[in-house]
Protein backbone atom coordinates (compact mmCIF):
# COMPACT_ATOMS: atom_id res chain seq x y z
CA UNK A 1 0.00 0.00 0.00
CA UNK A 2 2.90 2.30 0.67
CA UNK A 3 3.97 3.94 -2.55
CA UNK A 4 7.55 4.46 -3.50
CA UNK A 5 8.54 7.62 -5.32
CA UNK A 6 8.92 5.56 -8.47
CA UNK A 7 5.35 4.32 -8.46
CA UNK A 8 4.14 7.82 -7.58
CA UNK A 9 5.86 9.01 -10.72
CA UNK A 10 4.16 6.36 -12.83
CA UNK A 11 0.89 7.37 -11.22
CA UNK A 12 1.58 10.93 -12.24
CA UNK A 13 1.97 9.97 -15.86
CA UNK A 14 -1.23 7.96 -15.76
CA UNK A 15 -3.07 11.02 -14.56
CA UNK A 16 -2.20 13.10 -17.61
CA UNK A 17 -5.00 14.08 -19.93
CA UNK A 18 -4.80 11.84 -22.93
CA UNK A 19 -6.59 12.52 -26.15
CA UNK A 20 -9.02 9.87 -27.31
CA UNK A 21 -11.92 8.19 -25.57
CA UNK A 22 -13.32 9.58 -22.37
CA UNK A 23 -11.91 8.13 -19.18
CA UNK A 24 -11.57 8.54 -15.44
CA UNK A 25 -8.32 9.56 -13.78
CA UNK A 26 -8.19 6.28 -11.87
CA UNK A 27 -10.70 3.64 -10.86
CA UNK A 28 -13.66 5.91 -11.53
CA UNK A 29 -17.14 5.28 -10.24
CA UNK A 30 -18.32 1.65 -9.93
CA UNK A 31 -20.71 0.73 -12.70
CA UNK A 32 -20.23 3.85 -14.86
CA UNK A 33 -19.09 3.36 -18.45
CA UNK A 34 -17.35 6.59 -19.54
CA UNK A 35 -17.97 5.79 -23.20
CA UNK A 36 -21.67 6.45 -22.65
CA UNK A 37 -21.13 10.04 -21.50
CA UNK A 38 -21.97 12.04 -24.60
CA UNK A 39 -21.85 15.64 -23.32
CA UNK A 40 -18.82 17.80 -22.62
CA UNK A 41 -17.30 18.64 -19.28
CA UNK A 42 -15.72 22.09 -19.19
CA UNK A 43 -13.92 23.22 -16.05
CA UNK A 44 -13.05 26.78 -15.08
CA UNK A 45 -10.45 27.04 -12.33
CA UNK A 46 -8.95 30.05 -10.62
CA UNK A 47 -8.88 31.91 -7.30
CA UNK A 48 -11.80 33.93 -5.90
CA UNK A 49 -11.78 37.16 -7.86
CA UNK A 50 -10.27 35.62 -10.98
CA UNK A 51 -13.60 36.04 -12.78
CA UNK A 52 -14.74 32.41 -12.86
CA UNK A 53 -18.43 33.01 -12.28
CA UNK A 54 -18.57 35.93 -14.72
CA UNK A 55 -16.96 33.83 -17.42
CA UNK A 56 -19.20 30.84 -16.74
CA UNK A 57 -22.36 32.99 -16.82
CA UNK A 58 -21.33 34.32 -20.23
CA UNK A 59 -20.45 30.87 -21.52
CA UNK A 60 -23.87 29.60 -20.46
CA UNK A 61 -25.55 32.49 -22.31
CA UNK A 62 -23.56 31.75 -25.41
CA UNK A 63 -23.96 27.95 -25.30
CA UNK A 64 -27.72 28.13 -24.74
CA UNK A 65 -27.93 30.75 -27.46
CA UNK A 66 -26.48 28.31 -29.95
CA UNK A 67 -28.74 25.51 -28.70
CA UNK A 68 -26.75 23.51 -26.16
CA UNK A 69 -28.32 22.38 -22.90
CA UNK A 70 -26.12 23.31 -19.95
CA UNK A 71 -25.71 22.37 -16.30
CA UNK A 72 -23.58 24.26 -13.78
CA UNK A 73 -21.82 22.65 -10.86
CA UNK A 74 -19.40 23.93 -8.22
CA UNK A 75 -17.72 22.93 -5.00
CA UNK A 76 -19.61 22.48 -1.70
CA UNK A 77 -23.03 22.47 -3.30
CA UNK A 78 -24.02 18.83 -2.71
CA UNK A 79 -27.31 17.84 -1.11
CA UNK A 80 -25.45 15.30 0.98
CA UNK A 81 -22.87 17.29 2.93
CA UNK A 82 -22.75 20.96 1.88
CA UNK A 83 -24.52 22.18 5.05
CA UNK A 84 -22.26 20.22 7.37
CA UNK A 85 -19.23 21.30 5.35
CA UNK A 86 -20.15 24.96 5.85
CA UNK A 87 -20.56 24.36 9.57
CA UNK A 88 -17.17 22.71 9.76
CA UNK A 89 -15.54 25.56 7.86
CA UNK A 90 -17.12 28.20 10.06
CA UNK A 91 -15.93 26.50 13.20
CA UNK A 92 -12.51 25.63 11.77
CA UNK A 93 -12.78 22.43 13.80
CA UNK A 94 -11.83 19.70 11.39
CA UNK A 95 -8.28 18.55 10.87
CA UNK A 96 -6.87 18.42 7.38
CA UNK A 97 -7.44 14.79 6.34
CA UNK A 98 -11.01 15.05 7.60
CA UNK A 99 -11.73 18.28 5.75
CA UNK A 100 -10.12 16.85 2.65
CA UNK A 101 -12.34 13.74 2.77
CA UNK A 102 -15.41 15.86 3.51
CA UNK A 103 -14.77 17.87 0.33
CA UNK A 104 -14.16 14.65 -1.57
CA UNK A 105 -17.55 13.36 -0.37
CA UNK A 106 -19.21 16.56 -1.55
CA UNK A 107 -17.47 16.26 -4.91
CA UNK A 108 -18.41 12.58 -5.33
CA UNK A 109 -22.06 13.32 -4.54
CA UNK A 110 -22.21 15.98 -7.24
CA UNK A 111 -20.21 13.88 -9.69
CA UNK A 112 -22.63 10.98 -9.36
CA UNK A 113 -25.87 12.92 -9.10
CA UNK A 114 -25.27 15.89 -11.38
CA UNK A 115 -22.23 15.67 -13.62
CA UNK A 116 -22.45 12.07 -14.83
CA UNK A 117 -26.24 12.03 -15.45
CA UNK A 118 -26.03 15.37 -17.30
CA UNK A 119 -23.19 14.16 -19.50
CA UNK A 120 -25.11 10.97 -20.19
CA UNK A 121 -27.98 13.11 -21.49
CA UNK A 122 -25.61 15.07 -23.72
CA UNK A 123 -25.44 18.30 -21.68
CA UNK A 124 -22.61 20.79 -21.59
CA UNK A 125 -21.49 20.71 -17.97
CA UNK A 126 -19.74 23.84 -16.73
CA UNK A 127 -17.83 23.26 -13.53
CA UNK A 128 -16.92 26.25 -11.38
CA UNK A 129 -13.76 24.59 -9.97
CA UNK A 130 -13.04 20.87 -9.93
CA UNK A 131 -10.70 18.42 -8.21
CA UNK A 132 -7.66 20.60 -8.96
CA UNK A 133 -8.65 23.31 -6.48
CA UNK A 134 -9.28 20.62 -3.88
CA UNK A 135 -5.93 18.98 -4.56
CA UNK A 136 -4.03 22.27 -4.58
CA UNK A 137 -5.55 23.40 -1.28
CA UNK A 138 -4.45 20.11 0.28
CA UNK A 139 -1.01 20.13 -1.32
CA UNK A 140 -0.36 23.60 0.09
CA UNK A 141 -1.30 22.12 3.49
CA UNK A 142 1.24 19.35 3.11
CA UNK A 143 -0.99 16.42 2.18
CA UNK A 144 0.55 13.51 0.32
CA UNK A 145 0.21 13.84 -3.45
CA UNK A 146 -0.04 10.10 -4.13
CA UNK A 147 -2.85 9.88 -1.56
CA UNK A 148 -4.76 12.71 -3.27
CA UNK A 149 -4.32 11.15 -6.68
CA UNK A 150 -5.72 7.85 -5.49
CA UNK A 151 -8.65 9.63 -3.85
CA UNK A 152 -9.52 11.65 -6.95
CA UNK A 153 -9.04 8.67 -9.24
CA UNK A 154 -12.85 8.63 -9.02
CA UNK A 155 -13.02 11.84 -11.10
CA UNK A 156 -13.79 12.04 -14.79
CA UNK A 157 -11.16 13.66 -17.01
CA UNK A 158 -12.75 16.88 -18.35
CA UNK A 159 -12.80 17.87 -22.00
CA UNK A 160 -11.20 21.19 -21.18
CA UNK A 161 -9.79 22.91 -18.09
CA UNK A 162 -9.26 26.66 -18.18
CA UNK A 163 -7.19 28.18 -15.40
CA UNK A 164 -7.86 31.90 -15.00
CA UNK A 165 -4.50 33.20 -13.91
CA UNK A 166 -4.43 36.42 -11.89
CA UNK A 167 -1.54 37.71 -9.77
CA UNK A 168 -2.11 37.76 -5.98
CA UNK A 169 -1.73 41.57 -5.95
CA UNK A 170 -4.50 41.97 -8.52
CA UNK A 171 -6.68 39.43 -6.65
CA UNK A 172 -6.47 41.57 -3.50
CA UNK A 173 -7.71 44.60 -5.41
CA UNK A 174 -10.58 42.66 -6.99
CA UNK A 175 -11.64 41.13 -3.68
CA UNK A 176 -11.66 44.57 -2.04
CA UNK A 177 -13.61 46.22 -4.83
CA UNK A 178 -16.23 43.47 -4.48
CA UNK A 179 -16.49 42.70 -0.74
CA UNK A 180 -14.05 45.02 1.05
CA UNK A 181 -12.96 41.96 2.99
CA UNK A 182 -10.61 39.00 2.53
CA UNK A 183 -11.99 35.52 3.17
CA UNK A 184 -10.42 33.50 6.02
CA UNK A 185 -9.91 30.36 3.92
CA UNK A 186 -8.93 32.13 0.70
CA UNK A 187 -6.25 33.82 2.80
CA UNK A 188 -5.04 30.47 4.13
CA UNK A 189 -5.33 31.77 7.69
CA UNK A 190 -5.51 28.19 9.02
CA UNK A 191 -1.91 27.72 7.87
CA UNK A 192 -0.44 30.34 10.18
CA UNK A 193 1.68 31.90 7.42
CA UNK A 194 1.18 35.30 9.00
CA UNK A 195 -1.13 36.76 11.60
CA UNK A 196 -1.74 39.64 9.26
CA UNK A 197 -4.66 38.80 6.96
CA UNK A 198 -3.39 40.88 4.06
CA UNK A 199 0.07 39.39 4.25
CA UNK A 200 -1.30 35.86 4.63
CA UNK A 201 -3.56 36.31 1.60
CA UNK A 202 -0.64 37.30 -0.62
CA UNK A 203 1.57 34.47 0.61
CA UNK A 204 -1.20 31.87 0.40
CA UNK A 205 -2.35 32.83 -3.10
CA UNK A 206 1.28 32.74 -4.17
CA UNK A 207 1.61 29.16 -2.89
CA UNK A 208 -1.66 28.14 -4.53
CA UNK A 209 -0.56 29.68 -7.85
CA UNK A 210 2.71 27.77 -7.67
CA UNK A 211 0.93 24.44 -7.10
CA UNK A 212 -1.38 25.11 -10.03
CA UNK A 213 1.62 25.87 -12.26
CA UNK A 214 3.17 22.61 -11.09
CA UNK A 215 0.05 20.56 -11.83
CA UNK A 216 -0.39 22.29 -15.17
CA UNK A 217 1.92 19.97 -17.11
CA UNK A 218 0.36 16.85 -15.54
CA UNK A 219 -3.23 17.80 -16.15
CA UNK A 220 -2.88 19.96 -19.22
CA UNK A 221 -4.77 23.05 -18.04
CA UNK A 222 -5.14 25.86 -20.52
CA UNK A 223 -3.54 28.81 -18.74
CA UNK A 224 -5.62 31.90 -19.42
CA UNK A 225 -4.23 35.34 -18.70
CA UNK A 226 -7.15 36.74 -16.74
CA UNK A 227 -5.78 40.26 -16.30
CA UNK A 228 -7.42 41.12 -19.64
CA UNK A 229 -10.94 42.49 -20.20
CA UNK A 230 -13.82 40.06 -19.51
CA UNK A 231 -15.01 40.13 -23.12
CA UNK A 232 -11.61 39.32 -24.56
CA UNK A 233 -11.15 36.34 -22.23
CA UNK A 234 -14.64 35.06 -23.03
CA UNK A 235 -13.99 35.21 -26.77
CA UNK A 236 -10.87 33.10 -26.26
CA UNK A 237 -12.82 30.53 -24.21
CA UNK A 238 -15.64 30.43 -26.78
CA UNK A 239 -13.15 29.82 -29.56
CA UNK A 240 -11.56 26.93 -27.73
CA UNK A 241 -14.89 25.41 -26.72
CA UNK A 242 -16.23 25.72 -30.28
CA UNK A 243 -13.30 23.66 -31.53
CA UNK A 244 -14.09 21.09 -28.88
CA UNK A 245 -17.78 20.88 -29.77
CA UNK A 246 -17.07 20.47 -33.47
CA UNK A 247 -15.23 17.27 -32.64
CA UNK A 248 -18.48 15.60 -31.53
Amino acid sequence: MKRTSRSAKTGLQLMARRPGPRHFYGHGIPGVDPAKLAGKLIVVEGADGSGRSTQIARLVQWLEGVGHATVQVGLSRSTLVSEELDQAKNGNILSRTTLSLFYATDFADQLENLILPALKSGFMVLADRYIYTLMVRDLVRGMDEAWLKNLYGMALVPDAVFYLNVSPEELVQRNFSKNHVLDFWESGMDLGLSRDLFDSFLQYQGLVGKQFQRLQSTYGFEMVDAHRPVEEINMELQKKISALIKKI
Binding site: L94, S95, A108, E112, W147, L151
Partner: protein, 230 residues
Protein backbone atom coordinates in the same frame (compact mmCIF):
# COMPACT_ATOMS: atom_id res chain seq x y z
CA UNK B 1 1.65 0.09 7.00
CA UNK B 2 2.94 -0.05 10.55
CA UNK B 3 1.38 -0.56 13.95
CA UNK B 4 1.39 2.18 16.59
CA UNK B 5 4.06 0.26 18.51
CA UNK B 6 6.25 0.10 15.40
CA UNK B 7 5.79 3.86 14.99
CA UNK B 8 7.02 4.33 18.57
CA UNK B 9 3.77 5.67 19.96
CA UNK B 10 3.65 5.26 23.73
CA UNK B 11 -0.03 4.22 23.46
CA UNK B 12 -1.48 1.00 22.09
CA UNK B 13 -4.56 0.42 19.95
CA UNK B 14 -6.74 -2.66 20.21
CA UNK B 15 -9.48 -3.20 17.64
CA UNK B 16 -12.36 -5.64 17.45
CA UNK B 17 -13.92 -6.64 14.16
CA UNK B 18 -16.68 -9.01 13.17
CA UNK B 19 -20.19 -9.15 11.76
CA UNK B 20 -23.12 -7.45 13.45
CA UNK B 21 -24.30 -9.88 16.11
CA UNK B 22 -20.92 -11.56 16.61
CA UNK B 23 -20.72 -10.32 20.20
CA UNK B 24 -17.65 -8.15 19.62
CA UNK B 25 -19.14 -5.08 21.32
CA UNK B 26 -19.84 -7.09 24.48
CA UNK B 27 -16.28 -8.37 24.48
CA UNK B 28 -14.66 -4.97 24.04
CA UNK B 29 -16.91 -3.52 26.74
CA UNK B 30 -15.75 -6.21 29.17
CA UNK B 31 -12.14 -5.60 28.17
CA UNK B 32 -12.62 -1.88 28.81
CA UNK B 33 -14.08 -2.53 32.27
CA UNK B 34 -11.20 -4.85 33.17
CA UNK B 35 -8.59 -2.25 32.13
CA UNK B 36 -10.44 0.60 33.84
CA UNK B 37 -10.77 -1.30 37.10
CA UNK B 38 -6.98 -1.66 37.13
CA UNK B 39 -6.76 2.14 36.96
CA UNK B 40 -5.27 2.18 33.47
CA UNK B 41 -5.64 5.00 30.94
CA UNK B 42 -8.26 3.70 28.54
CA UNK B 43 -10.31 5.31 25.79
CA UNK B 44 -13.09 3.68 23.80
CA UNK B 45 -14.11 4.74 20.28
CA UNK B 46 -16.91 3.48 18.10
CA UNK B 47 -17.21 3.32 14.32
CA UNK B 48 -19.32 6.10 12.79
CA UNK B 49 -19.56 8.30 15.86
CA UNK B 50 -17.91 11.63 15.07
CA UNK B 51 -20.54 14.19 16.03
CA UNK B 52 -20.22 16.55 13.08
CA UNK B 53 -19.98 13.95 10.33
CA UNK B 54 -22.76 11.91 11.90
CA UNK B 55 -25.37 14.50 10.93
CA UNK B 56 -24.48 14.12 7.27
CA UNK B 57 -24.25 10.35 7.50
CA UNK B 58 -27.64 9.92 9.11
CA UNK B 59 -29.24 12.29 6.59
CA UNK B 60 -27.64 10.32 3.77
CA UNK B 61 -28.84 7.06 5.22
CA UNK B 62 -32.34 8.18 6.10
CA UNK B 63 -32.95 9.67 2.69
CA UNK B 64 -31.10 6.85 0.91
CA UNK B 65 -28.80 9.37 -0.76
CA UNK B 66 -25.64 7.31 -0.53
CA UNK B 67 -23.91 5.52 -3.38
CA UNK B 68 -21.08 3.02 -2.76
CA UNK B 69 -18.59 5.86 -3.36
CA UNK B 70 -20.19 8.42 -1.05
CA UNK B 71 -20.96 5.73 1.53
CA UNK B 72 -17.26 4.90 1.56
CA UNK B 73 -16.09 8.53 1.64
CA UNK B 74 -18.43 9.70 4.37
CA UNK B 75 -17.33 6.85 6.63
CA UNK B 76 -13.71 7.66 5.83
CA UNK B 77 -14.42 11.27 6.82
CA UNK B 78 -15.92 10.12 10.10
CA UNK B 79 -12.94 7.87 10.75
CA UNK B 80 -10.42 10.61 9.88
CA UNK B 81 -12.12 13.02 12.27
CA UNK B 82 -11.93 10.56 15.16
CA UNK B 83 -8.44 9.46 14.15
CA UNK B 84 -6.90 12.92 13.97
CA UNK B 85 -8.75 14.59 16.81
CA UNK B 86 -8.98 11.74 19.33
CA UNK B 87 -7.11 8.54 18.60
CA UNK B 88 -3.72 9.97 17.62
CA UNK B 89 -3.49 12.54 20.44
CA UNK B 90 -4.55 9.92 23.02
CA UNK B 91 -2.07 7.41 21.66
CA UNK B 92 0.64 10.06 21.85
CA UNK B 93 -0.37 10.61 25.47
CA UNK B 94 0.09 6.92 26.24
CA UNK B 95 -3.49 5.65 26.31
CA UNK B 96 -4.80 2.21 25.51
CA UNK B 97 -7.35 2.95 22.82
CA UNK B 98 -10.10 0.41 22.19
CA UNK B 99 -11.89 0.55 18.84
CA UNK B 100 -15.18 -1.13 18.11
CA UNK B 101 -14.44 -1.57 14.38
CA UNK B 102 -11.46 -0.10 12.59
CA UNK B 103 -10.39 0.35 8.94
CA UNK B 104 -11.04 -3.34 8.18
CA UNK B 105 -14.78 -2.71 8.45
CA UNK B 106 -14.45 -0.25 5.58
CA UNK B 107 -12.20 -2.58 3.59
CA UNK B 108 -14.80 -5.35 3.86
CA UNK B 109 -18.03 -3.34 3.40
CA UNK B 110 -16.89 -0.97 0.68
CA UNK B 111 -15.40 -3.78 -1.37
CA UNK B 112 -18.63 -5.76 -1.14
CA UNK B 113 -20.44 -2.61 -2.34
CA UNK B 114 -18.22 -2.57 -5.44
CA UNK B 115 -15.62 0.07 -4.62
CA UNK B 116 -12.18 -0.81 -5.97
CA UNK B 117 -10.23 -2.38 -3.05
CA UNK B 118 -6.99 -0.50 -3.86
CA UNK B 119 -8.87 2.80 -3.86
CA UNK B 120 -10.40 2.12 -0.44
CA UNK B 121 -7.10 0.97 1.03
CA UNK B 122 -5.34 3.98 -0.44
CA UNK B 123 -7.78 6.35 1.24
CA UNK B 124 -7.21 4.80 4.66
CA UNK B 125 -3.43 4.57 4.36
CA UNK B 126 -3.00 7.59 6.63
CA UNK B 127 -4.01 5.32 9.53
CA UNK B 128 -1.56 3.11 11.41
CA UNK B 129 -2.46 -0.52 12.05
CA UNK B 130 -3.81 -1.70 15.43
CA UNK B 131 -1.34 -3.33 17.78
CA UNK B 132 -3.87 -6.09 18.33
CA UNK B 133 -6.95 -7.00 16.28
CA UNK B 134 -9.53 -9.52 17.44
CA UNK B 135 -11.86 -10.96 14.86
CA UNK B 136 -15.01 -12.50 16.29
CA UNK B 137 -16.08 -15.28 14.00
CA UNK B 138 -19.49 -16.62 14.78
CA UNK B 139 -21.50 -19.04 12.75
CA UNK B 140 -23.23 -16.86 10.15
CA UNK B 141 -26.68 -18.17 11.09
CA UNK B 142 -26.03 -17.43 14.78
CA UNK B 143 -25.04 -13.80 14.04
CA UNK B 144 -28.03 -13.33 11.78
CA UNK B 145 -30.38 -14.78 14.36
CA UNK B 146 -29.06 -12.50 17.10
CA UNK B 147 -29.72 -9.41 15.02
CA UNK B 148 -33.01 -10.62 13.64
CA UNK B 149 -34.34 -11.69 17.06
CA UNK B 150 -33.57 -8.39 18.70
CA UNK B 151 -34.51 -5.95 15.96
CA UNK B 152 -37.01 -7.17 13.42
CA UNK B 153 -36.79 -3.89 11.47
CA UNK B 154 -33.63 -3.91 9.35
CA UNK B 155 -32.33 -0.59 8.11
CA UNK B 156 -31.83 -0.01 4.38
CA UNK B 157 -28.03 0.21 4.23
CA UNK B 158 -27.52 -2.20 7.11
CA UNK B 159 -29.37 -4.85 5.13
CA UNK B 160 -27.33 -3.99 2.02
CA UNK B 161 -30.57 -3.13 0.20
CA UNK B 162 -28.65 -0.65 -1.96
CA UNK B 163 -26.93 -3.62 -3.58
CA UNK B 164 -30.24 -4.98 -4.91
CA UNK B 165 -29.35 -8.48 -3.77
CA UNK B 166 -32.95 -9.28 -2.96
CA UNK B 167 -36.18 -7.37 -2.53
CA UNK B 168 -36.61 -9.10 0.83
CA UNK B 169 -34.60 -7.21 3.48
CA UNK B 170 -33.96 -10.38 5.49
CA UNK B 171 -32.71 -12.29 2.49
CA UNK B 172 -30.64 -9.28 1.41
CA UNK B 173 -29.12 -9.01 4.89
CA UNK B 174 -28.12 -12.69 4.84
CA UNK B 175 -26.39 -12.46 1.47
CA UNK B 176 -24.74 -9.15 2.36
CA UNK B 177 -23.38 -10.39 5.70
CA UNK B 178 -22.14 -13.57 4.05
CA UNK B 179 -20.13 -11.55 1.54
CA UNK B 180 -18.69 -9.31 4.24
CA UNK B 181 -17.60 -12.37 6.18
CA UNK B 182 -15.77 -13.65 3.07
CA UNK B 183 -13.93 -10.32 2.78
CA UNK B 184 -12.93 -10.37 6.44
CA UNK B 185 -11.58 -13.88 6.22
CA UNK B 186 -9.65 -13.04 3.06
CA UNK B 187 -7.66 -10.32 4.89
CA UNK B 188 -7.33 -12.18 8.18
CA UNK B 189 -3.75 -13.39 7.64
CA UNK B 190 -2.51 -10.19 6.00
CA UNK B 191 -3.56 -8.09 8.98
CA UNK B 192 -2.79 -10.70 11.67
CA UNK B 193 -6.30 -11.00 13.04
CA UNK B 194 -6.63 -13.05 16.22
CA UNK B 195 -9.52 -15.30 15.32
CA UNK B 196 -11.98 -15.74 18.20
CA UNK B 197 -14.58 -18.43 18.23
CA UNK B 198 -17.64 -16.30 18.92
CA UNK B 199 -19.85 -19.34 19.36
CA UNK B 200 -18.22 -19.97 22.77
CA UNK B 201 -19.49 -18.59 26.08
CA UNK B 202 -18.96 -14.87 26.76
CA UNK B 203 -16.78 -15.62 29.81
CA UNK B 204 -14.42 -18.02 28.10
CA UNK B 205 -13.94 -15.65 25.16
CA UNK B 206 -13.24 -12.77 27.53
CA UNK B 207 -10.63 -14.73 29.41
CA UNK B 208 -8.81 -15.47 26.13
CA UNK B 209 -9.00 -11.77 25.20
CA UNK B 210 -7.61 -10.66 28.56
CA UNK B 211 -4.80 -13.24 28.45
CA UNK B 212 -3.74 -12.11 25.01
CA UNK B 213 -3.87 -8.42 25.91
CA UNK B 214 -1.79 -9.09 29.03
CA UNK B 215 0.79 -11.08 27.09
CA UNK B 216 1.14 -8.55 24.24
CA UNK B 217 0.97 -5.29 26.16
CA UNK B 218 2.88 -4.34 29.27
CA UNK B 219 -0.09 -3.02 31.22
CA UNK B 220 2.07 -1.45 33.96
CA UNK B 221 3.11 1.21 31.45
CA UNK B 222 -0.45 2.52 31.29
CA UNK B 223 -1.17 3.42 34.91
CA UNK B 224 -3.28 6.58 35.12
CA UNK B 225 -3.15 9.46 37.57
CA UNK B 226 -6.66 8.88 38.82
CA UNK B 227 -7.85 6.08 41.05
CA UNK B 228 -9.99 3.42 39.43
CA UNK B 229 -13.59 4.32 38.77
CA UNK B 230 -15.99 1.63 39.86
Amino acid sequence: MKTFAELNFPGRLIAVEGLDGSGKSTQIYLLKRWLELQGLKVFFSEWNSSSLVKAATSKGKKRELLSPTTFSLIHATDFADRYERQLVPLLRAGYIVLCDRYIFTAFARDTVRGCPPEWVRGIYNFAALPDLTFFFKANLEVSLQRILDGRPQLKYFEAGMDLRLSTDPYESFRIFQGRILEQYLAMSTEFKFHLMNANHAVESQQSIVRDLVRSKINLNDFQGQNPARV
